[in-house]
Symmetry: C3
Subunit: 139 residues, 3 copies
């Protein structure tokens, strides 16, 4: 049994979902772990993680439309406004989704379902560099 | 320290919450782990996991009513409609709840609170077979 | 590689967010783990966990306002009402946030981002004592 850690940087182009599965899988492929647990932890509070369908890009568009309606950029609604009208909605969207995901590793690969991908969900309108802490334990 | 993996299949009868705690606990009971961490990972994007109260079934009914109102099946609202009117709401409900849960193991048992159960939350209206990847590490 | 477990009790003063980062960090500091994974599991279904910004307290106020509007205490709306008008909203808020968080440990410390803190989110109006199961694995 052993463990490994890594930090992944993801450059976003503003609000939207970014598939990080290939980057995570590439790092995992270089580790000598056949069975284990891989944890992704996002070190930010205005972006988040979600597992969603990887087939129809309309799923991601509909998901974004849903959150844009549920958590509107509404001037005057939020006390926290000094970082821009998109910042407080970003914190709320992050609370409603995930900051961390742990995925079992089987036969050296992420045990995702056929239609699953791991997305970094950027909630800010401007591009950001997001840091993802990875931790792997297994053997 | 050692680890074990397992796949659980859950046959759902359509939308609703299914208590998987007994199945998970039964598998755990067969492993020689007194202290550790058990991870459940659902390999689907139109169902999810939640921990909820196991006492009053009205809690589960109210939870379902809340999600049915928050994420309605609204023809014309979603671009992604080819898999039926319940599919895109199912993806959104999954994003709002959990795909993965890790539960500490103490004295050989899940360290759940007295009133907690682990539910597989089926969001599709039709019955589905759902696969849950389990991973246990400990000693 | 070794592991350790601990139970943390948090006395809340009713609805609101309570920063548990110092308590968790203090326990971690006493363990001989440089690299690993720390899991927090809340043993309740009417409170939850969130990672949020630790800088501007208005973020926490806006978050609470959002949830109070999204999940109102509405007499007659919920079947489950025997434990008070705030109990069913508390269960829904818990389903929408987290019951569990796993955070990588690097150089003996939680690998949180600069602006991140771990909050116990009390959803009931009355004070409660909340139990948090901690599990640490690493070396």
């Amino acid at each position: 049994m052993h463990q490994a850690s890594h930090q992944l940087s993801v450059a976003t182009r503003g609000r939207g979902l970014y598939d990080v599965t290939p980057d995570v899988a590439a790092w995992l492929a270089g580790q000598a772990v056949r069975e284990g647990l891989l944890t992704l932890f996002l070190r930010h509070t205005s972006a988040s993680l979600v597992i969603q369908e990887n087939a129809d890009p309309d799923v991601l568009r509909d998901l974004e439309s849903f959150f844009a309606t549920l958590v509107p950029e509404a001037p005057g609604r939020y006390r926290h406004s000094s970082e821009g009208p998109d910042d407080m909605p970003a914190h709320i969207r992050a609370a409603l989704t995930q900051t961390q995901l742990s995925i079992p590793v089987a036969e050296g690969r992420l045990a995702l379902g056929t239609w699953q991908a791991v997305y970094l969900y950027e909630h800010r309108t401007a591009p950001h560099t997001r840091r993802l802490a990875l931790h792997l334990i297994g053997g």
